[in-house]
């Protein structure tokens, strides 16, 4: 396969463009996605490529455009809805939670809602409390929705293509700090199935399960720990729903120690779900230490950059958690 260095946002744009060329039912709608190129520039060039009928620049009406996505999906289109910040899903939630997620089931298996809601989440930009949240666990809680959180360009492209082709509503969380990150990505269309985790680094001592931006922090921690002779295995679930429990359980059964890290607030975060999956499985018998869970502090994201940094897990927090879990194991 021929590859090209692509940033995360280029990879996403490439996936959209390939699918739009291939399938005329695929279209995009969202605020400022036209000449402005979207709040984070992801759709730059698409309106020139496909025109304003298929790249639909909308008024600032999250509830209305979410509903328009649901209705058009129900009647044969495959809309890709861009919300400028994932925080604004709050305004669209009736359409997402009460409508999109439930329509097929409520109607006794009739109809389907093949839409993708793409939206940037996360902190680190100084945009403060209403533009920095990580709310993916809300969506993961709702039966009928699928939830994707790619951590690299390669994953973003392959997962987005699968999401567009999926017959269900898929919430696709991009991370703002990843948009500029580059890696070689195949130029052609390829798919990464929803529900397949990636082992981002193999290791024998501790399993670190990380999502989105935390995958990179975990990999950085791995480098530093390696110098001390500690080999961690880094697993990126990539999709929260469906969750690849098998890969997680197999890794934990091998290493016997677990650290789970996400940027979202720790309390009732998705880490709690992953920890439960582990302790409810046969991997429980292999655990040599309590599971370590890292997540954001239970605070709105503050504006001051130092405070902001301290609101979410950092590389040093992961290193410390890995060491704690190794020490706990030794005491036993």
């Amino acid at each position: 396969m021929k590859t090209k260095d692509m940033s995360y946002s280029e990879a996403i744009r490439d996936a959209i463009s390939l699918k739009m060329h291939e399938d005329e039912d695929v279209f995009m709608l969202g605020e400022d996605i036209g000449v402005y190129g979207g709040a984070f520039g992801v759709s730059r060039g698409l309106i020139e490529e496909f025109g304003p009928k298929r790249i639909r620049n909308t008024p600032i009406s999250e509830s209305g455009i979410a509903g328009a996505a649901v209705g058009s999906a129900l009647t044969g289109m495959r809309p890709i809805l861009e919300l400028q910040f994932s925080d604004f899903i709050t305004i669209a939630t009736d359409q997402i939670i009460n409508q999109a997620a439930k329509i097929r089931y409520m109607y006794g298996g009739k109809g389907k809602v093949p839409m993708v809601l793409r939206t940037p989440s996360g902190s680190g930009t100084g945009a403060a409390a209403q533009h920095s949240q990580s709310l993916e666990v809300w969506m993961a809680h709702i039966p009928g929705l699928k939830v994707v959180q790619p951590s690299s360009s390669y994953d973003a492209k392959g997962l987005l293509i699968s999401a567009i082709e999926d017959d269900n509503p898929v919430i696709f969380y991009e991370h703002k700090l990843l948009y500029g990150m580059k890696e070689p990505v195949p130029e052609e269309l390829y798919r990464i199935p929803l529900g397949k985790a990636a082992i981002k680094r193999e290791g024998t001592d501790v399993t670190v399960i990380a999502t989105s931006i935390m995958v990179h922090k975990a990999l950085e921690a791995a480098k530093q720990l390696e110098r001390e002779g500690i080999e961690i295995e880094v697993i990126d679930p990539r999709t929260l729903v469906p969750l690849d429990e098998e890969t997680i359980i197999a890794s934990v059964s091998k290493t016997s120690r677990v650290v789970i890290v996400h940027e979202a607030v720790k309390r009732a975060g998705f880490g709690a779900e992953i920890a439960s999956v582990i302790v409810e499985s046969d991997a429980f018998d292999f655990l040599d230490a309590p599971i370590e869970r890292l997540g954001g502090k239970a605070v709105p994201i503050p504006y001051n950059p130092e405070l902001e940094k301290h609101a979410v897990p950092q590389v040093s927090d992961i290193i410390n958690a890995v060491k704690r879990t190794l020490q706990r194991g030794e005491e036993v």
Partner: protein
Amino acid sequence: MITTKIPPSLSTNQMRKLYHQMWLIRYFDEKVDEFFARGAIHGTTHLCVGQEATATGACYVLENEDKITSTHRGHGHCIAKGADVNRMMAELFAKETGYCKGKGGSMHIADVDQGNLGANGIVGGGIPIAVGAALTSKMKNLGYVVLCFFGDGAANEGSFHEALNLASIWKLPVVFFCENNQYGMSGPVKEMVNIENIGDRASAYGIPGKVIEGNDLFSVIEATEKAVARARKGNGPTLIEAKTYRWKGHSKSDAKKYRTKEEEQYWRKEKDPIQLLANRIISDNLLAKEELEALQLQAREQIDSAVEFAEKSPAPSLTSLELDVYA
């Protein structure tokens, strides 16, 4: 040239204050722009350069105990409602002495003591809050009026419709003030709304609607005075739409691909609200040119010292991270 009648109640001293305040707002935002470009201010910010007359004129009408709700483009509203530019600048510098102790930043400056219920990062988020604040005034018979600022883009949020309907059926003391600066982030109002004037939507709620020149300070004052008087009498809300223009990009810098240079030049050259006011003051012989210059200079110096205050202020301590989540 602006020709609206100058309110007879407006004293020379008040005219000085208004002119000074317009410059204070402009210099504040130009300073923020400069520091942003240099990387000394981080995050994001939305500047109201070119829109000074709406904030200044509308807040001029208010009594101290009246309240406002503001937007992401809110520095002007905040200053016009009587905020201290030192503490505003300190907030932008993420300092402990800022209005939000460095936790809020540009989009969340609030000055609750002065009746500013806050800027808002959520487009349209403040409109229903204004209705709630007006409900308190009515239920407790407090007599205050709420002035609710929002943009042309916000008028397409569901919250606009729901809030205007509520306020009109409950006859609440609120003035909905739409600053139509022609664009959302990039979406031109001409493409996003299928009628000429957002103000015309008032009839759908059975309330008065007024469309005005937003860069004409006196027309802003006139329309707001009428609306506030009506609200205070218990006759319910009014929708005002003020046509204006933002000179800068939407936030930080943007390529402004969605509009033309000619259009920008027209608004800068022909419709600068401060220049229009200065021309009128001079032609009506209200204040001497030298005095205007002195007021302008005074505003500039105030902003310089606000920067100094902000730079010298301490950063918040890390222990503050988990404070103030709950009351």
